[in-house]
Symmetry: C2
Subunit: 356 residues, 2 copies
Amino acid sequence: MSAGDGEEVVLGVDSGGSGLRVALAGTGAGRPLATAACAGPVRTGPAGIDAGHLLEQVLPVARELLARQAPGARVVAAAVGAAGMATLGDRLRAEVPAALAGALGVRRVALAADAVTAYAGALGQRPGAVVAGGTGLIALGTDLGTWRRADGWGHLLGDGGSGAWIGRAGLDAAMRAHDGRRGGSGALLARLEAVFGPASGLPGLLYPRTDRPALLASFAPEVAACAAGDGVAAGILRAAAAHIAEAAAAVCPPPRPKGPRLAAGEPHAPAAPHGPREPHKTYEPYEVALTGGLFKMGEPLLAPLREEFARQVPQARVVRADGDPLEGAVETARALAGDRLRLPSHPTLLFLPGTA
Amino acid sequence: MSAGDGEEVVLGVDSGGSGLRVALAGTGAGRPLATAACAGPVRTGPAGIDAGHLLEQVLPVARELLARQAPGARVVAAAVGAAGMATLGDRLRAEVPAALAGALGVRRVALAADAVTAYAGALGQRPGAVVAGGTGLIALGTDLGTWRRADGWGHLLGDGGSGAWIGRAGLDAAMRAHDGRRGGSGALLARLEAVFGPASGLPGLLYPRTDRPALLASFAPEVAACAAGDGVAAGILRAAAAHIAEAAAAVCPPPRPKGPRLAAGEPHAPAAPHGPREPHKTYEPYEVALTGGLFKMGEPLLAPLREEFARQVPQARVVRADGDPLEGAVETARALAGDRLRLPSHPTLLFLPGTA
């Protein structure tokens, strides 16, 4: 596919901890015309995410995609999703809109937290919630009126149920087996020693590193691998599942009545005395999408997660994500271009210059 | 007090995260002749604790104490206790004994982990266990045959029940109240905001710092302050108490029968059919000393701790520490000098050059 002269296209950008990607797409539905990866992740300094470093990588790639896939096309909207946007995105919000306007003539720009592009990729513009889990964990939900956010506070203040959380709990249980405290797991100790060497040397390996959360998270699959035969490992995954569901429950929109509205104080519609019976449903289910590498851990995590969702978020229907955060950026840019953006704007989660 | 010509004295050194202290003492019992604080804590570099930095501070102070308090006395033994000795003490073990021999003529030297000098300060040379709690937490016990160590693995791998552990759990509960997850505490959120400002800004304050465990631990007293009126805070301290008792239980020497030894399989001596009854005791209690700033938190921690010790370590009698780690270093040096060191030597916990 390519777009011809005078056609309208949009740009999506996904800036994450492990890389920076750009997509060029038509304004309609369907897959992007082309995507490209930039050289590396955007630097973050004392003043936050480095807007100049992002632009100097994105602009040449965008120009090349345009020249190759859509010569003569106009870029009518762009959406940039970035990890850390909410807390470290001041320079992006200050510099990127004018730079995109100057370099590519883009007039409509959205600057989104990576959780928002994950949301848009997973659910498009439908109400619901997304749980994005990897090394960390954040939940984001909306009824299309406001955003609700839970967790995502990092490995020392939260990220309950994340890869770092599971790995840390697994290593704690291994060290307990090593020194004979209650709550230890010999199976996890064996995995610790297979991966890291003698247990007593682990503190010396871990603490000098700057990527401690990633190292902790690297042990999470070992916990999952032990869960079938080890009660401690299985308990860690059950606790993780409970924390993940807690985050989802905190951001799910409140239940909405389905079909004929029920009066307050009348939670159950009276059943018809005769005729075929349908399972009684009081509420529309909301879609909750699980995205990110955490959920590739498979059944050892997903089985307790289904139980916890059924218990804590009964109004939710867990769905597969439609697309990834880069596709979410494209979806957001398309919605901007078509004047049909329903996801609510927000000063840091979804910043729309000129509307703030 | 001062020691005269030809008299024998000992040196004790305590090197901790917040400072470096030296004590000069006679070889008998009683308080040191004098103690002095050096300029600052000893540097730790990529090769471990900087032996040269320790010696260049300790030697002049020791010479001055000698000249002032015990001119003409001979230093017959020295003990150096240092935080990090077990994992980062290679250079101390390699360089300090020869340097003390060369500079002060000391022939008998002990190099001890700070937990060992805490033990010797708390219990002298009696069998038992010590729990040293502050920002971190470690337990050390001995039957005078071997050492048993539990926890002390740092804030990401353990230190269960420590100041950092309590503070982190309190901040997690505060962030849960902030974003509406289950398990939150409004009282702890109010304390968080009073201490650190808006909750959403806390990650940006915490993660760039290099003293994250200390910052977490600084919130522990707020948890204790909330415990009387807040179930979540009280629950955190109960869980901390359980972890502290778990560490103590793992290092307490196994119970030893008291009085007339009982045959195996005969746990209770038959009661005398007549005559006055004494409460039946099967085991000698072991002394467990609690040392460090953690236990200054008072009843909110100490009350659940008593319950957990009664449950998990019934053979223990919790005692007040006789003295601090500097006094423990002096005690160790005196025992070396008098050929009566009963604490077991160990390659990293209690290193005695020439006996290893």
